[in-house]
């Protein structure tokens, strides 16, 4: 093959780009895995932070639980907001400009930088509503950040339903609610759930919204909505930026990645289940 012939520069550009990108990304991921693996002892996973300064010894259990708790709170609120908004656009909205308007609103919210949301969350939830640094304040701030993901994915899922089936249902005098739960939801629930899971991943990895509303270096396991929590991303940030413990930082990063990857794996299984349905 004439490698040095026509299109040499473009070829070189392509292949060099791909090599650079692959190398960099694989290196990053492998590096974290390899360096962090040694920190993953049972103690690390199950104990609370200890040592002086705090975090240099002990474990990250409260952070793991805190991250999961923040994910749970935020996704509950975000699912309701996101699915409802998409459902309204799909089922109830007859005027085109309102539909587009809502879409623009959601895009705008998605475009707000997470730190600005954190700023808002601090002043509004933590101070004005007097929630203090709390799981609830953090969860609500995160919910605002992620509900556009749910809304967009749900809208996509709903758009794929068979319009004639829906019309046939209305034609039989069936209400929108019954049609939604009886015809639409069974077809779309896999896509909607995938969208929700993707949103959870987004929430659990976020630092900026929670550093001003919920996250602290040391707290006990989350038992109440009104107390501050530990969270893996924030813990990683503190450990790394203040150079407290490189080993524990690697471990924290690895645990965070593993949690996120398992959710991605869950989404993948939902999808393989879906494609075998259609066979």
């Amino acid at each position: 093959m004439k490698f040095f012939g026509e299109g040499f520069f473009i070829k070189a550009w392509l292949y060099i780009s791909v090599i650079i990108v692959l190398t960099v990304t694989s290196y990053i991921i492998f590096h974290i895995f390899i360096s962090g693996w040694s920190s993953l002892s049972l103690e690390f996973l199950l104990a609370s932070p200890a040592g002086m300064p705090l975090g240099t010894e002990g474990g990250i259990l409260p952070a793991i639980m805190g991250t999961l708790a923040l994910g749970a709170v935020s996704i509950t609120v975000a699912s309701f907001l996101g699915v409802a908004t998409a459902t309204y656009q799909f089922l109830f909205c007859r005027t085109l400009w309102i539909k587009s308007g809502i879409r623009i609103v959601i895009q705008c919210i998605a475009g707000i930088p997470s730190i600005v949301l954190g700023l808002f969350g601090y002043t509004f939830f933590v101070v004005s509503l007097d929630m203090g640094y709390s799981l609830l304040a953090g969860g609500l701030t995160l919910a605002i950040m992620i509900f556009p993901v749910v809304a967009v994915n749900t809208e996509k899922a709903l758009a794929e339903t068979n319009q004639n089936q829906i019309l046939s249902s209305y034609a039989l005098g069936i209400s929108k609610a019954y049609t939604f739960f009886g015809i639409i939801l069974p077809q779309t629930k896999k896509d909607i759930i995938s969208g929700i899971l993707l949103a959870v991943v987004f929430a659990m990895g976020a630092t900026a919204p929670i550093m001003l509303t919920a996250a602290v270096l040391s707290a006990s396991a989350p038992t109440s909505l009104s107390k501050p929590v530990m969270a893996l991303p924030y813990h990683l940030y503190i450990l790394a930026s203040q150079r407290l413990s490189v080993d524990h930082a690697y471990g924290t990063a690895l645990v965070l990645l593993l949690i996120l990857l398992s959710v991605y794996a869950l989404v993948a299984t939902i999808y393989t289940g879906k494609s075998s349905d259609n066979l």
């Binding site: 026509e6 299109g7 473009i10 070829k11 550009w13 392509l14 780009s17 791909v18 650079i20 990304t25 990053i28 590096h31 974290i32 309701f80 907001l81 409802a84 908004t85 459902t87 309204y88 656009q89 089922l91 109830f92 809502i102 609103v105 919210i109 475009g111 707000i112 930088p113 997470s114 600005v116 954190g118 700023l119 808002f120 002043t123 101070v127 605002i144 509900f147 209400s175 929108k176 609610a177 019954y178 987004f202 990895g205 976020a206 630092t207 900026a208 001003l212 991303p233 924030y234 990683l236 940030y237 790394a240 930026s241 930082a249 690697y250 990063a253 990645l257 996120l260 990857l261 993948a268």
Partner: protein, 289 residues
Amino acid sequence: MKQKIIDKIFTVTVKALTVTSVLILIFIIIFIVQESMVFFSQVFPLDFLLGRDWRPMSQPPRVGLLPILTATLALSGLALLMALPAGIGCSLFLSQVCPLKLRRKIRPFIDVLAGIPSVVYGFVGVVLLLPTLERLFNLSSGDSLLAGGIVLAVMILPFLIATITESMENTTGKHIITSKSMGVSRWYMIRHLVLPASRVGILAGAILGTARAMGETMAVIMVVGNSPLMPVSIWQRVKPIPSLIALEMGSAPLGTLHYHALYAAGLVLLLMLLLINMVFYYIRKKIEG
């Protein structure tokens, strides 16, 4: 009838929640504007934007945003400069050269990459990038504009690749048969058809990538040194707006000028993002016109 009650609850809930979502946006905007206005009633906007000194703790406090504003733009610009060539190259590979089966396997991989939290990128920057820079260039500290740019470039790459690849696939899909039937080689088609036709897609990716980079907090904050100096060299420390807010919010007491200045900085960031999106919208209209 029981069903009628369920129907009613469903309709009311859906409508109420939708209204809530819209109100959330309006509320956030009003809130931020309000808190910023307290600042702007005491400090002239132009002084804020063009002031070169950020020392809110001094007496009298100096709140000039220019170094921070410039740092934000410089970081994104640098990131884009580094990421775009590689991003376009990879997109070309994926859309033109890569066999379909492999492409399907790579796509989820890119999505996962895009989902890696920014704090992890920042961490990797601290433990890998900074020491490397320090060794390679004999620096005492790797914290720099360059480090920030590199980390951001890596972060926005998956995003650029996804957007641009999609645009290129659309173009190729439409024209590849015509092109092949004219006996044109693949490389010729890339150079003379795909690249020009993907201008809008590339522009879209670039603009959205820039917006993403400008709003990014955690990846940058850990490697960029966080000194509010005017960016004149890529080796120096800088402090972009998101880092400013994240680091100083905790220590700015409620109601002080410092506190409201941070809100004003947030507003400036939002306005810049709005401007970028509007420019994008306008350009797209022009090209597709």
